[in-house]
């Protein structure tokens, strides 16, 4: 095994085990009842096993695996934005686009041929998630004045953006390049994915202190209305 292959193998292991950081941090988290924290922990466990046994499952299921991977990943990302947006209209927008996306995925599943990656759905997923992210930032600045980097949701969104942004071109073009080139780039996409998992894990930890701070702030605001009666 040459040096490059060892490094590639190392990256693979790093990526697989980085998913375990999520349930691990969940154990130490004080916000175990938070639905997003639970979802992130479950996402970590599911994807750890999914990636570990990806190539152990017969190739005839590969197309379904790709389909499932995209569905699960998109569902989590859409859920992150769904619970962070308070406007009913925007929530409806997320639901509508998601239903549209799932319908498209199903049609694509039955009509397309197996490729290295399901490029088109991943491309559409990235575009949708980027739209949600812009809406999230716009809404955040509209309703909040606190520092955004003190908010754990911000780091989750940054993780998603970094991961999808960095792998966007790779996912779109992978079916147009030969296997040798694909292998060359494939391992590079692990870096943003690992960063994403680290950011998600940090967000799980931040959640505890963030909720505590928010509760404390609510308690310490005195009644300031001036009574002149």
């Amino acid at each position: 095994m040459d040096k490059i292959q060892i490094i590639e193998k190392l990256f693979s292991y790093l990526l697989f085990y980085s998913y375990l950081l999520l349930p691990l941090f969940f154990i130490f988290s004080k916000s175990k009842r938070n639905s997003l924290v639970i979802c992130l922990a479950v996402y970590g466990i599911v994807f750890f096993f999914f990636l570990n046994f990806f190539y152990d499952i017969p190739r005839s299921f590969r197309k379904f695996q790709q389909f499932l991977y995209t569905v699960l990943e998109y569902s989590l990302f859409a859920y992150v934005f769904f619970i962070n947006l308070k406007s009913k209209k925007l929530r409806y927008l997320i639901i509508s686009l998601s239903l549209l996306f799932f319908a498209f995925l199903t049609v694509y599943f039955f009509t397309s041929h197996l490729g290295k990656v399901d490029s088109v759905p991943v491309g559409v997923e990235t575009i949708f998630v980027f739209i949600f992210a812009f809406v999230y930032f716009q809404q955040y600045f509209k309703h909040n004045q606190s520092y955004i980097y003190g908010n754990p949701n911000f780091w989750i969104v940054v993780g998603i953006l970094l991961y999808l942004g960095s792998t966007f071109f790779f996912n779109i073009l992978i079916n147009h390049i030969n296997q040798q080139q694909a292998d060359q780039y494939w391992h590079l996409t692990y870096i943003p994915e690992i960063i994403k998992n680290i950011l998600f894990s940090m967000a799980i930890l931040f959640y505890s202190s963030y909720h505590k701070e928010n509760q404390d702030t609510k308690k310490t605001i005195p009644y300031l209305d001036l009574d002149i009666n």
Partner: protein
């Protein structure tokens, strides 16, 4: 798609590399932009908050200073006027009074009574300056009319006031605050404007209560008022601001379009009629 069709495998590789780097730069740039932009906005908000606090501090100091001046005036009135009067009355009613003849006794008692009456009047005047009885008993309209009649009666200036819609009285606390503001404004006009007339009108428009004072002397415009309010001078104006803050009102200083008169408009939210 055209781009993909037009490029060969190595070209795609370049597109992939440049595209990935571009997306990465874009994403990182976006995140950094958001963070720096928010820091800038927060810094600006902190500066605004600091300025607001400074302003509050100036107003509070002005209010305390005014209170102290009022106390000093009261103390001086009581010490310099009521004190000597009562001491004189005591002199007339000293122990030797019983040893004196009846005529002298009667004269002394009469004198003492006269002095005590003066003292009562003096204390009443002090008390009225604290809370005008007309305002308490008959309301803002009567108190303001009374004030303007007194000014007009002095012959130095033509003063008139007219309340168009004041069937329902405001709450007594609010009336007192507005009366004090009017007093301060009138006092300023008398002291600084050299105007020949002063006219006050009251009106209601929508859910707002308005009082407007016109005069033809030297006056202030809003910019002057804001400037004086932020400076260390203009104690009376700061006091007006702090009183208005209590009743959630606004004040506007303008020059009439004809450039002949100055207008001072007090705007207050109209509240439930006071029974």
């Amino acid at each position: 798609m055209f781009f993909l069709q037009a490029t060969n495998s190595s070209g795609i590789s370049t597109v992939l590399f440049i595209g990935t780097i571009g997306m990465l730069v874009l994403t990182v740039g976006l995140v950094l932009f958001i963070i720096f932009h928010q820091r800038k906005v927060s810094r600006y908000q902190r500066t605004l908050q600091k300025m607001e606090e400074e302003q509050q501090k100036i107003l509070l100091n002005a209010s305390i200073k005014l209170q102290e001046e009022e106390r000093q005036r009261l103390a001086a009135d009581l010490h310099d006027d009521a004190g000597p009067l009562l001491a004189t009355a005591r002199l007339y009613l000293n122990e030797n009074l019983v040893n004196q003849d009846k005529a002298t006794q009667l004269q002394s008692i009469f004198q003492a009574r006269q002095i005590i009456d003066d003292t009562i009047q003096l204390i009443r005047n002090i008390s009225h300056s604290l809370m005008p009885p007309t305002l308490k008993n008959f309301g803002l309209e009567s108190a303001v009319n009374d004030l303007f009649q007194k000014i007009s009666g002095s012959g130095t200036m033509n003063a008139s006031s007219r309340f168009h819609e004041y069937k329902d009285r405001l709450k007594p606390e609010k009336e007192l605050i507005i009366f004090r503001i009017v007093q301060e404004l009138v006092n300023n006009i008398l002291k600084h404007s050299s105007s020949s007339f002063i006219h006050l009108t009251q009106n209601i428009h929508g859910d707002k209560f308005y009082l407007r004072i016109h005069h033809d002397g030297r006056g202030l415009i809003q910019a002057d008022f804001d400037k004086l309010n932020k400076s260390n001078v203009g104690l009376g104006l700061k006091n007006i601001s702090s009183r208005l803050r209590v009743v959630q009102g606004n004040i506007f200083f303008e020059k009439d379009i004809s450039q002949t008169y100055y207008k001072v408009t007090i705007e207050l939210p109209r509240d439930e009629p006071y029974q």
